[in-house]
C-alpha cells in the first residue's frame, strides 16, 4: 500500500454554522498571513494519521447552501463527511438529519464515515443545543463521533479531521480485507454488508 493516500472529505451543514472557518482553520498554514481560496491548493492539506501520511482534499459547500441541487455533486466525491452544526442553533442541528440521509442514499452505504461537529463552542453562553441532544444524535447514527469545536479558537479543529480520516482509513483496510469483492473501492454500491455489520464505530465523544 502506498504510504501516501488522498482522501476526499466533504464538509456539510447549514449556512452560518462556521463550516468555512473550520475548513479554513484546518487547511490554512498558520504562517500564511493571507488566505486565498481561489487557487487549486486552497483546500488540500497533508496530515499524519497514525503514522501514515494522508492528503486530504476538502470540499466545502460554504456559501452555496442554497444550491441544494449541487449537494449531490459534492457528496458523490466524498469518502468521509463532517456534518457541522452550531451549538447556538437548534435548527442547524436538525438540518443534519436530512443531509445524512442524502449521503447514505448517495453513497449507498449506511456506515459511511461521518463525524458530527458542534461548532462555536466558544459561545457557550449562547448554547441552544444541549450536549445530550447531540449525543443522542450520535447514538442514533451508530455512534458517529461527536466533537465540539471552536474554529475561532482553533479548538479541536485538527481532531475532527483526523478522526474522520482515521475512519476512512479503517474502512479502506476493512474493504481491503474483504478484497474478493471487486467493488471494494469507494462508492462500490454492491458491497456486502455482512462484514461490516458487527463493527460499530467506536467513535468517542469528545468535548473540549
Amino acid at each position: 500500500m502506498r504510504p501516501q493516500r488522498e482522501y476526499h472529505i466533504v464538509v456539510l451543514g447549514a449556512g452560518g454554522v462556521g463550516k468555512s472557518c473550520l475548513t479554513a482553520q484546518f487547511v490554512q498554514n498558520v504562517w500564511i498571513e493571507s488566505y486565498d481560496p481561489t487557487i487549486e491548493d486552497s483546500y488540500r492539506k497533508q496530515i499524519e494519521v497514525d503514522g501514515r501520511q494522508c492528503i486530504l482534499e476538502i470540499l466545502d459547500t460554504a456559501g452555496t447552501e442554497q444550491f441544494t441541487a449541487m449537494r449531490e455533486l459534492y457528496m458523490k466525491q466524498g469518502q468521509g463527511f463532517l456534518l457541522v452544526f452550531s451549538i447556538t442553533s437548534m435548527s442547524s442541528l436538525n438540518e443534519l438529519s436530512e443531509l445524512r440521509e442524502q449521503i447514505i442514499r448517495i453513497k449507498d452505504d449506511e456506515n459511511v464515515p461521518i463525524v458530527i461537529v458542534g461548532n462555536k463552542s466558544d459561545l457557550e453562553e449562547d448554547r441552544a443545543v444541549p450536549r445530550a441532544r447531540a449525543f443522542g444524535l450520535s447514538q442514533k447514527w451508530g455512534n458517529a463521533p461527536y466533537y465540539e469545536t471552536s474554529a475561532r479558537r482553533r479548538a479541536n479543529v485538527n481532531e475532527v479531521f483526523v478522526d474522520l480520516c482515521r475512519q476512512i482509513i479503517r474502512k479502506d483496510s476493512e474493504a481491503a480485507k474483504s478484497s474478493n469483492d471487486p467493488n471494494r473501492k469507494r462508492e462500490g454500491p454492491n458491497r456486502k454488508r455482512d462484514n461490516r455489520r458487527p463493527k460499530n464505530r467506536r467513535g468517542p465523544c469528545v468535548i473540549l
Binding site: G15, G16, S34, E72, S97, E101, P189, R191
Partner: protein
C-alpha cells in the same frame, strides 16, 4: 537573490576540488603579461601564514545566529590594498554601512556596501550590527527597496509606478529628522550647529535626487521602456537610496557628536588601549602603493582615484571627523563582538560549480557580459544626464570590452594563419573602445559646480553613445569572426596565463567561466584563500599579523588563483569537508583583494546561489529576524558616498571636489517641503508592492496620494468595501481630515484636495448606498459648504449639488453597474457590431402553435417539442438577466445567506433558478412511465446542456448536469441502458467540465481569460467570497519602530473586491432574441416544480424508486434490526419499506404522496 544586476559583483563560484594540504603561494611562478603596462612586473603574493586555525570552525557551529540587516564596519578592511569598488571581497572603511544579504558559517557575509553599491564578501567580525532607533524606518525602507528591486524584478515596474516605495525613504528621513529634533530648518539644533545644518541639507538633497529619479522612472515606465532602461534606472534609484541611508547614518553621527548624546560619546572617548593602532594602518596602505603607480593607464587610475578619494575625504572633513578616522575602536565594540560572532549561518556542504574553460564558451559569456553592460550603458545615457552611476557604468563597459578583446586575442593567437580578418576586427574594436574611453573622459570633464552630481555635457554624451554603439557593432563583428576561427581551428581550452593576464589588465574582470581549471595551481592556491575565520581575529586586528590586512604587500592578489579562491569562498565544498586539513586557514585575508568588476559577475553569482543555495542560511528574506539594539558606538562619519563608485579608466582628478561639494549642495526646497509633508505612510503594510493593510488615515492618504493617480482597483475596493471597516461617517471624516492636514504641505495640497473632492464625488455619484450612507450626508454637506467651498469653490458647489440630488433620488445617480470596476480593468466583451442582426429564434409555426394551445390550456408541451439550442438560449436569457442585476453589495459579508436577510435578492434568485432548473430536469424525466421516453428526454437535456456550454452558460450547465448525475436519475438503470453511447460520451465530457474536485480546477481554468458574454457558475464566487471572509482576519498587526498597532487588513478587502470584479466582468447581457411565449412556459414550469417545496428531492427519489425498483440482488438480513430508514442495499421488499421510511422523516410526515 535570484536576479542579479550587473552592478552587483557576484560571488565567484569555482570548482574547488583541491587537495588542501598543499600550500598556496605559487602564484609567483605565473608569468604576467599585459596590455597596459600596469602590473607588468611579477608579483609575489603574501606568504600564507601558517598558523592554522581550524579550531575555530568548531566554535562556528555553536552560536545561535542572529541576522542583522545592516552592519557597520569598525575596522577598515582592505584586503589587497586594492580598493576597487568591484572586488568580490568588499573593502571596508571604518564606519561603512553594509546591507547584508546572507551570512555564511565561516563568518563572511555577503553584503552590499552602501557607500558604493558594491557587493561582495566581508568579514563580519570587522563589523557590528547597525540598528539605531532613529534610523530604523529608513533602514527598513531601504531593505524593502532592495527586496523589490533585486528580489522581484518582474513586479517592480508596477510597484514603482505609483511611487509607494518612495514614501518609505521619505517617511524614514522624516522620522530621523523628527527624532533628532531637526525636522525644520528653523529648529534650534539646526540653527545652532553648522555641521548638522550641512549634513541635514545634504540628506535632503539626496532625498530629492531619489524622488526625482523615481519620477523620471515613472515617466519611463509609463512608456514602453526597454529592459535595459528600466534596469539602469532601478540601479540608479537603488544607489541613491543607499546614499540616503549613508547620509542618514552620517547625520546621526554628526548629531551625536555635535548635539551630544553625551553618554555614548563619553564612553567612546574613554578607552585607549587600542588607541593609535588604526591611526595609520600598519599596512602598506593602498595609497602608498597607488601613488607610485599613478601614471599608469586606465587600470591604475581607479586606484588612483580611490586613494585620492580617501585623501579628499580626509581633507574635506572637518577636523573632528579626521580625528574620528584615527580614533580607536569604540569601546563598546568589544562588548558587541559577541553579537557579531552570532551572525553566522549554519551550512551544510555545498557543491561547487565546475567552471568550463573552453574558449568558445568564454567567448560567449564575455560577449554576453559585454552586451549586458553596454546595453545598460546605453540605456543609461538615454535617460540619465548626469550621475555618478553613469561613470561607473561607463567604466564597466570599458572593462567588459576589454575582456572580450582578451578572449578574442587568445583566439587570434591560436589561429594565427586563419585569423587575419579576426585580427582586423579586433583592431577595429580596439579602436572603437579607445574612442569610447576618450568620449567618456570628455563627457565627465568635471565642472566646478555645486551640483549634486557631475556635470554632463550633452554633446559629449551623444558622442559617447555613438562610441558605445560602434563598440557594440565592432564587438558583434569580432564575435562572429572569432567563432568562425574557432570553428576552423577547433575549440581550445584557455590556459591560466591568459586569465591572469586578463585580470592584470582588466582590473580583474572575470567572467563566470574564467576560472582556470588547471588543477595543480588551483589546488595549491585553494588553501590560502580560505577566509579567515572571523572569530579568530582579535579585538585589535593589528596584533596578529597573520590576520590583519597588514600582511599583504600589493598586487599579487590579481593572480588567477586568488580570484578562484575568493570566488569560492563561501561556497567552496572544501569548507565543510576539509577543514581539518587546513593548516593556514585563518591567516589569509590579505589574499582577498581581487577585484572583479560587477558587471561580469552577475551570471556566475546567480548560478552560484542556485547551485549552492544550501550554504546561505540567512538570505535577504530572513529579514524579520531580530534586530538587537546596539548602542551607538562608532562616531566616525561615513565618508561621502562618492568614493566607492568610481573606478579606473578616467582621470577624473578634480571630480572628487565637485562631488564632495554635493554634500554641501544647496538645500533643495522641494525636498524640504517633501520632508515636512505630514504623512501616515508608515502605517501601511506592504507586501510585494501592494498594500496589505493600514490604518484608515493611511489608507485614505494612499487613496488620495498626490504623486500618482490612484490604482483603479484600489479605489474600487475602497468604494465597495469601506463600509466593512469604517462607518460612512468615519470615511467622510477621514477624507476631510486628509483635506485639512495636507494644507500643511503647500506643494501637495492642491492635487490632494482635488483628489479628496473626487473621491467624495465618485462616492455620491455612483457608489452611494442609501441604506448605509445617508448618515454621512449631513457631514458631507457641511464639509462641502465650508472647507471645500473655501478652497475650491467650484468643487464645493458641485459636491453640494450632488448631495442634494442624492438626498432626493432613491438610487445611485449613475447606475452602479455602469461604473462597476469589473468593466474597467479586465477584458471586454467580444466586439459585435450593434447592427449585426440578432440570431433568429429557432421556432417554427408548429412550436408557436403549440405554445398558443398550451396558453389556452388546450395542449401540454414538453421540452422535446423545442429545439435544444433555442431552449438553451431562452434559459440563458433568463439567467443572464438575473445575473446582470447582481449588485456588488449583495456579495459582501455573506449577505446572500438566509440569515442575512433580503438584500441579496439577485444572488438568491440565481440559486433559486439554478435549483428550479435542476428540479425541472428531474421532473421531466421522472414523470415519464416509459424508459424509452425517459431516455429520449435525458438525451434532449444532454443536448441542451451542451448548447449551454456553447453559449458559455456554465450556470445552467451546472444545474442540468447536477440533476442528470443525481442519484435519483443515475440509478435508473433500465433507462440508461437505452441512452445512446454518444449521448453518454457527451455527458461524460460535460461532467468533466463541472467537476468540483481540485477546487473546480477545470471550471476555473475555463473562466480564466474567458471573453464575455458568459454566465459563470455563481456558486464558486460565493464559496470564494465566504472563504475570503472567514479565512482572513479583519485586522493586521503592524509593528512600528517602538510599538505595535492594529490596522485594517486591506488585503482581505482587496481579495473580496477582486472576486467581485471577476464576477462583474461577466455582467454583460447576451445578444439573443427573447421569445416571450417560451419564457412564459418555462417560468410556469419552474413555478410548478418549485411548488413541490422542500421535499422535492425526496419526492423525486421516491418516484425514482417507483419507476425502477431496486434490484433483488441484495439480502435483507438486516431488515429487522433497523429502526431507522435503510434506504439502500436492500432487496425489493426492503425498497417498499424504505419508501415508507422516507415518509417517516419529520419533515415529510404529512406528505405521503407519491407518483
Amino acid at each position: 537573490m535570484e536576479s542579479m544586476k550587473p552592478h552587483i559583483p557576484p560571488l565567484k563560484i569555482s570548482k574547488s576540488n583541491s587537495n588542501l594540504s598543499e600550500s598556496s603561494n605559487d602564484a609567483t611562478s605565473i608569468p604576467i603579461r599585459s596590455y597596459s603596462g600596469w602590473g607588468s612586473s611579477d608579483m609575489t603574493p603574501p606568504l600564507t601564514p601558517q598558523n592554522a586555525q581550524d579550531t575555530n570552525m568548531d566554535q562556528l557551529e555553536a552560536p545561535r545566529p542572529v541576522f542583522h540587516n545592516y552592519l557597520r564596519a569598525f575596522y577598515p578592511f582592505h584586503p589587497a590594498g586594492n580598493v576597487s569598488p568591484s572586488t568580490v571581497t568588499l573593502p571596508l572603511d571604518q564606519g561603512d554601512i553594509i546591507l547584508v544579504h546572507s551570512v555564511h558559517t565561516n563568518g563572511w557575509a555577503d553584503g552590499t556596501l552602501l557607500d558604493s553599491g558594491n557587493r561582495g564578501w566581508l568579514p563580519t567580525n570587522y563589523c557590528e550590527a547597525y540598528d539605531q532607533l532613529p534610523m530604523r524606518p529608513l533602514l527598513k525602507a531601504l531593505t524593502d527597496f532592495w527586496d523589490i528591486i533585486r528580489g522581484n524584478f518582474g513586479s517592480s515596474l508596477k510597484d514603482f509606478g505609483n511611487q509607494d516605495l518612495m514614501r518609505g525613504p521619505i517617511a524614514g528621513v522624516r522620522f530621523l529628522l523628527e527624532k533628532s529634533e531637526c525636522l525644520t530648518r528653523e529648529s534650534a539644533l539646526v540653527r545652532r550647529f553648522e555641521g548638522l545644518r550641512r549634513i541635514r541639507k545634504a540628506l535632503l538633497s539626496d532625498l530629492s535626487s531619489l524622488v526625482k529619479t523615481a519620477k523620471k522612472f515613472q515617466e519611463i515606465a509609463n512608456g514602453l521602456p526597454s529592459e535595459d532602461e528600466v534596469e539602469a534606472i532601478l540601479d540608479e534609484m537603488l544607489l541613491k537610496a543607499f546614499k540616503i541611508v549613508t547620509r542618514g547614518v552620517r547625520f546621526l553621527d554628526v548629531w551625536n557628536e555635535e548635539v551630544g548624546l553625551g553618554r555614548t560619546i563619553a564612553e567612546m572617548d574613554g578607552p585607549n588601549e587600542s588607541s593609535g593602532q588604526y591611526s595609520m594602518p600598519p599596512t602598506p596602505a593602498s595609497e602608498t602603493f597607488n601613488l607610485g603607480e599613478n601614471e599608469g593607464p586606465d587600470r591604475s587610475a581607479s586606484r588612483m582615484l580611490e586613494s585620492r578619494m580617501d585623501h579628499s575625504r580626509m581633507d574635506m572633513s572637518r577636523s573632528s571627523m579626521r580625528t574620528e578616522m584615527v580614533d580607536p575602536r569604540p569601546a563598546s565594540v568589544a562588548t558587541k563582538r559577541v553579537s557579531v560572532s552570532h551572525r553566522m549561518s549554519v551550512s551544510g556542504p555545498s557543491t561547487a560549480i565546475v567552471a568550463q574553460n573552453l574558449a568558445s564558451e568564454r567567448l560567449g559569456t564575455t560577449y554576453d557580459a559585454f552586451l549586458g553592460v553596454l546595453g545598460s550603458f546605453l540605456g543609461f545615457h538615454m535617460q540619465s544626464r548626469s550621475s555618478m552611476e553613469l561613470v561607473v557604468t561607463t567604466q564597466q563597459a570599458v572593462e567588459a570590452c576589454k575582456q572580450l578583446l582578451n578572449v578574442i586575442e587568445v583566439v587570434c593567437e591560436h589561429g594565427t594563419h586563419r585569423s587575419a580578418f579576426l585580427e582586423q576586427a579586433r583592431e577595429l574594436m580596439w579602436e572603437k573602445l579607445s574612442e569610447l574611453v576618450h568620449a567618456a573622459r570628455d563627457v565627465f570633464r568635471p565642472a566646478q559646480m555645486p551640483e549634486d552630481d557631475l556635470f554632463f555635457m550633452v554633446d559629449e554624451g551623444k558622442r559617447l553613445v555613438g562610441a558605445a554603439t560602434d563598440c557594440v557593432r565592432a564587438a558583434g563583428n569580432c564575435l562572429a569572426k572569432a567563432r568562425l576561427v574557432l570553428e576552423q581551428i577547433g575549440d581550445l581550452e584557455l590556459d591560466p596565463e591568459h586569465f591572469e593576464e586578463e585580470r592584470q589588465e582588466l582590473s580583474g574582470v572575470a567572467s563566470p567561466q574564467d576560472e582556470p581549471q588547471t588543477p595543480v595551481e588551483e589546488e595549491r592556491q585553494e588553501l590560502s584563500r580560505l577566509p579567515p575565520p572571523p572569530l579568530q581575529i582579535p579585538s585589535t586586528p593589528a596584533l596578529t599579523d597573520a590576520t590583519t590586512p597588514s600582511s599583504f604587500q600589493s598586487l599579487p592578489a590579481n593572480s588567477p588563483a586568488n580570484i578562484t579562491a575568493i570566488s569560492s569562498l563561501p561556497n567552496s565544498a572544501i569548507l565543510p569537508t576539509h577543514l581539518e586539513n587546513i593548516s593556514s586557514f585563518s591567516s589569509t585575508d590579505s589574499n582577498y583583494r581581487e577585484s572583479h568588476p560587477k558587471s561580469d559577475m552577475s551570471e556566475s553569482f546567480g548560478r552560484g546561489i542556485t547551485s549552492n543555495g544550501s550554504s546561505f542560511t540567512y538570505n535577504s528574506h530572513a529579514r524579520d529576524s531580530e534586530m538587537s539594539g546596539v548602542s551607538q558606538t562608532s562616531t566616525r562619519a561615513t565618508s561621502p558616498d562618492i568614493g566607492g563608485s568610481f573606478q579606473g579608466s578616467f582621470k577624473v582628478h578634480s571630480l572628487k571636489e565637485s562631488l564632495s561639494y554635493s554634500t554641501l549642495a544647496e538645500e533643495n526646497e522641494e525636498t524640504e517641503a517633501n520632508i515636512l509633508e505630514k504623512t501616515f505612510a508608515h502605517e501601511l503594510i506592504y507586501k510585494e508592492g501592494s498594500v496589505m493593510g493600514g490604518s484608515l488615515r493611511a489608507l485614505i492618504e494612499k487613496l488620495t496620494a498626490h504623486q500618482s493617480t490612484p490604482d483603479a482597483m484600489f479605489v474600487s475596493t475602497f468604494y465597495l468595501t469601506f463600509r466593512l471597516f469604517a462607518t460612512p461617517l468615519e470615511f467622510a471624516e477621514a477624507l476631510a481630515e486628509r483635506f485639512d492636514y495636507i494644507g500643511e504641505t503647500p506643494h501637495a495640497a492642491g492635487p490632494v484636495r482635488l483628489r479628496v473632492y473626487n473621491i467624495f464625488k465618485g462616492w455620491l455619484e455612483s457608489h452611494w448606498r442609501h441604506d448605509r450612507d445617508n448618515t454621512a450626508l449631513e457631514f458631507i454637506v457641511d464639509f462641502a459648504s465650508t472647507r471645500l467651498m473655501a478652497d475650491l469653490p467650484t468643487a464645493g458647489m458641485r459636491l453640494l449639488d450632488l448631495a442634494g440630488k442624492v438626498s432626493s433620488v432613491g438610487g445611485p445617480l449613475v447606475p452602479r453597474l455602469i461604473s462597476s470596476m469589473g468593466k474597467t480593468n479586465t477584458s471586454i466583451a467580444q466586439y459585435i457590431h450593434p447592427d449585426t442582426p440578432l440570431p433568429p429564434p429557432i421556432l417554427g409555426k408548429k412550436e408557436h402553435h403549440l405554445l398558443k394551445q398550451w396558453k389556452n390550456g388546450e395542449a401540454s408541451i414538453t421540452i422535446l417539442d423545442f429545439d435544444p439550442l433555442e431552449l438553451a438560449r431562452q434559459l440563458t436569457i433568463k439567467e443572464s438577466r438575473i445575473f446582470c442585476s447582481i449588485l456588488p453589495e449583495e456579495l459582501l459579508n455573506t449577505e446572500w445567506t438566509p440569515k442575512s436577510g433580503s438584500l441579496a435578492v439577485n444572488v438568491r434568485a440565481m440559486s433559486t433558478l439554478s435549483t428550479d432548473l435542476a428540479h425541472l430536469v428531474a421532473d421531466s424525466i421522472l414523470y415519464l412511465e416509459e424508459p424509452k421516453k425517459r431516455a429520449a428526454t435525458i438525451k434532449h437535456w444532454v443536448k441542451i446542456a451542451n448548447k449551454c456550454l456553447e453559449l458559455n452558460n456554465y450556470d445552467s450547465l451546472m444545474a442540468i448536469i447536477c440533476s442528470l448525475n443525481s442519484s435519483m436519475i443515475s440509478r435508473l438503470k433500465k433507462t440508461w441502458d437505452i441512452v445512446s453511447q454518444k449521448t453518454k460520451t457527451v455527458l461524460e465530457q460535460l461532467c468533466g467540465i463541472v467537476d468540483v474536485s481540485r477546487n473546480y480546477a477545470v471550471l476555473r481554468q475555463r473562466l480564466q481569460n474567458h471573453v464575455p458574454p458568459c454566465l459563470p457558475f455563481v456558486g464558486t464566487y460565493l464559496t470564494d467570497l465566504t472563504f475570503v471572509d472567514h479565512g482572513n482576519q479583519s485586522l493586521r498587526t503592524l509593528s512600528t519602530h517602538d510599538s505595535e498597532m492594529t490596522v485594517i487588513n486591506f488585503d482581505k478587502h482587496m481579495k473580496t473586491a477582486r472576486i467581485i470584479s471577476e464576477l462583474q466582468r461577466f455582467q454583460i447581457p447576451y445578444r439573443l432574441t427573447e421569445v416571450p411565449e417560451l419564457q412564459v412556459w418555462m417560468q410556469n414550469e419552474f413555478v410548478r416544480v418549485r411548488s413541490n417545496g422542500e421535499i422535492t428531492t425526496q419526492t423525486f427519489y421516491r418516484r425514482s424508486l417507483v419507476l425502477e425498483p431496486r434490484e433483488a440482488s441484495r439480502s435483507a438480513n438486516n431488515l429487522q434490526s433497523q429502526s431507522e430508514p435503510m434506504p439502500s442495499m436492500l432487496d425489493n421488499a426492503k425498497d417498499k419499506f424504505d419508501f415508507l421510511s422516507w415518509t417517516n422523516h419529520p419533515k415529510a410526515k404529512s406528505v405521503p404522496t407519491h407518483g
